[in-house]
C-alpha cells in the first residue's frame, strides 16, 4: 500500500491544489525562463512547465513532500524540454526540405542575420548548438544555480561528467558567440 496513510480524498486534493498554487506563484517565472534557455522559444517553454505542474499534481499523493516538489518540477522541466526538442528536430528537418521560414520572422532578412548574432537571441541560438547534455549542464549550473552535485543528481550523471560537460559547453558557446563577432567584423554579411 503506497497511498497516503490517512486523510480523505478531499484533503489530499486540497493539499495538492494549495502546494501547486504556492509553487506556481514562487517559481513559474524562473522555471519558464530555465525551460526557454533549454528549448529556445517561450511558448514551448510555457508548455513544458505547464505540463510539469500538471504532472506534479498527479503525483502529489506519492510525493507529499513540499521540499521535494521543486526538484520534481525541475526534473520534469528538463525531461519535457528534451521531448520538445526531439519533436522539433523532426519538424525542422521537414521544413529544411520543404520550405524556409523561421517561425518568428518579424524583420527584414538583412536585419535578421544581424539580429541573430547579438544579445539574447544569439545566446538562445548558441545554446541550441550545444550537445544536449552540455546544454542541460550549462543551464542548470549557471542559470538555475544548482551545484555540481545537484546537477549530477538531477541528470543522473557523475560529478566528473558535470564538470566536463560544463567546461566543454562553455568553451563551445564562447567560441560560437565570438566566432560570429570576428566573422562579421571582418567579412560583413558577404561571407555567405
Amino acid at each position: 500500500m503506497t497511498g497516503p496513510p490517512a486523510g480523505s480524498d478531499a484533503a489530499g486534493r486540497s493539499e495538492a491544489d494549495q502546494v501547486l498554487a504556492e509553487l506556481y506563484a514562487a517559481h513559474w517565472n524562473r522555471l519558464v525562463r530555465t525551460a526557454a534557455l533549454l528549448v529556445r522559444d517561450t511558448e514551448t517553454a510555457e508548455d513544458v512547465v505547464q505540463e510539469a505542474f500538471v504532472a506534479l499534481h498527479r503525483h502529489w499523493g506519492r510525493l507529499r513532500e513540499p521540499d521535494l516538489a521543486l526538484a520534481y518540477l525541475r526534473r520534469s522541466v528538463v525531461n519535457g524540454a528534451r521531448s520538445a526538442l526531439r519533436r522539433r528536430t523532426v519538424a525542422t528537418r521537414f521544413l529544411a526540405k520543404h520550405g524556409p521560414a523561421r517561425s518568428e520572422e518579424r524583420v527584414e532578412p538583412a536585419e535578421e542575420s544581424a539580429l541573430a548574432r547579438t544579445g539574447h537571441e544569439a545566446v538562445l541560438e548558441g545554446l541550441q548548438s550545444l550537445a544536449r547534455r552540455q546544454r542541460e549542464v550549462v543551464v542548470l549550473r549557471y542559470y538555475a544555480d544548482l551545484s555540481e552535485a545537484e546537477t549530477a543528481d538531477m541528470l543522473g550523471i557523475s560529478r566528473g561528467a558535470v564538470k566536463s560537460h560544463a567546461s566543454r559547453g562553455l568553451a563551445k558557446l564562447r567560441g560560437l558567440l565570438h566566432e560570429d563577432r570576428s566573422g562579421r567584423a571582418e567579412g560583413g554579411t558577404s561571407d555567405e
Partner: protein, 340 residues
Amino acid sequence: MSEPEKWARDLLARAAEEVEPGRRWEEIQRATTDRRTNRRGWWLAGGSAVAVAAVAAVAAVVVTRPSPPPPEPQPAGPSDTPAAVESTSPTNEGAAAAVYFAGDTPQGPRLYREFRTVETRFLDPVRLSIEGDAEDPDYGSLWPEGAEADGVTYYDEPSGGLLQVDLTDASLRERPAGMTEDEARLAIQQVVYTAQAEAGARAPVTFEVEGEQLEQVLGVPMQQVGDTWQVAHAAPLDTLSRVSLSDPAEGTVVGDGALEVNGAANAFEANVVLTVSDGPRVLRQEPVTASGWMGERLFPFETRLDLSGLPPGEYVLTARVDEPTEDPQVFSDTRTFVVE
C-alpha cells in the same frame, strides 16, 4: 569562480531576463480539475515511488523554511523565525543581477536597469540600488544619503512568497525634507524591481528595521495584507524609462569595428533610434525595431552597429524613443564607449 563561469552566468541571466513568461494558471487548474473528475482517487495509484527522493535540489537563492507549510495561507511572519531563515545566500561564485537605478526622463525620474556582477544574491543588488552605485554616471538613487540595507530575504511561501528588506535606520520611515511623494514612491520601486528580478517572481516587498515592520517607508504608507505591511510592484510604464540600454556597459572598449547593442524599450511602433556621436556631431544613426510595443512592459531590442571608419576616441551611444504625443517627448539612455 572562473572567468568563463562568470561570463556564462552573466550571459544566461541577461538572456533569461528578456524572456517574459505568460500566465498559465487557468490552464493548469483546468488540467488538474479534469483529472480529478476523470480519475477519482488518482493518488492511490500504485507503482514504484517516483525517484525524486535522491534529489535535494533547492535553488541556492531561494530560502525555504524547513517545516511544511501551514494548512492555511498566512502572511510570512519573518521576524518570528530567526534561525531558520538565513538572510540571503552568499554565493562564493558571483552572479549576474539586474539592478534598477533612477534617472531623468521627460516625465520626471524613472527607473533604468543595469546588469551587474554580484557576490551575494539579493542583498548586493538591493544595496547597489539603494546606494546609487551605478556604472552609468546618469543613474543614481532616490534614497537619501546614508540609507542602507543589511539583509534581503526571499520567503518562498506562502502563495506567492514575500521579499523582506532589512533597513538599518528607522528614520527611513519618514520622508526626508525636499523629497516629493513621487520620488519616494519611485525610490521604493527601485528596491521592489531589483529584489523581484532576483526572485524571478513578483513577490511583494516588506521593509523592516531591527525586526520591526515599517508600516510606511519614506512617508509612503505600505499596504496591510494580513499582518504584513507590504508594497507591490508599480505598473512598468509608470515606473521604467521607455528605453534602457543593457549593452554596451559604460566605458566599453571596442576593438573590432562593431558595437553590440541591446536593451529594452516601449516605443511607438517599436521604433528605437540609435545614434553615435563624438559630442556635438552625430556620426552614425540607425533605427532598430524592438520585439513589440503593444503591451504594459518593455520589449527587448538588439543590433550590431558598424563602427568602421571611426577614428580611435571616446564616443556616446544614445538610444532614443519618441512619444508622438501633442507635446512630443523624447526618452533616451546613453553610454560612453571607446574605440581603440
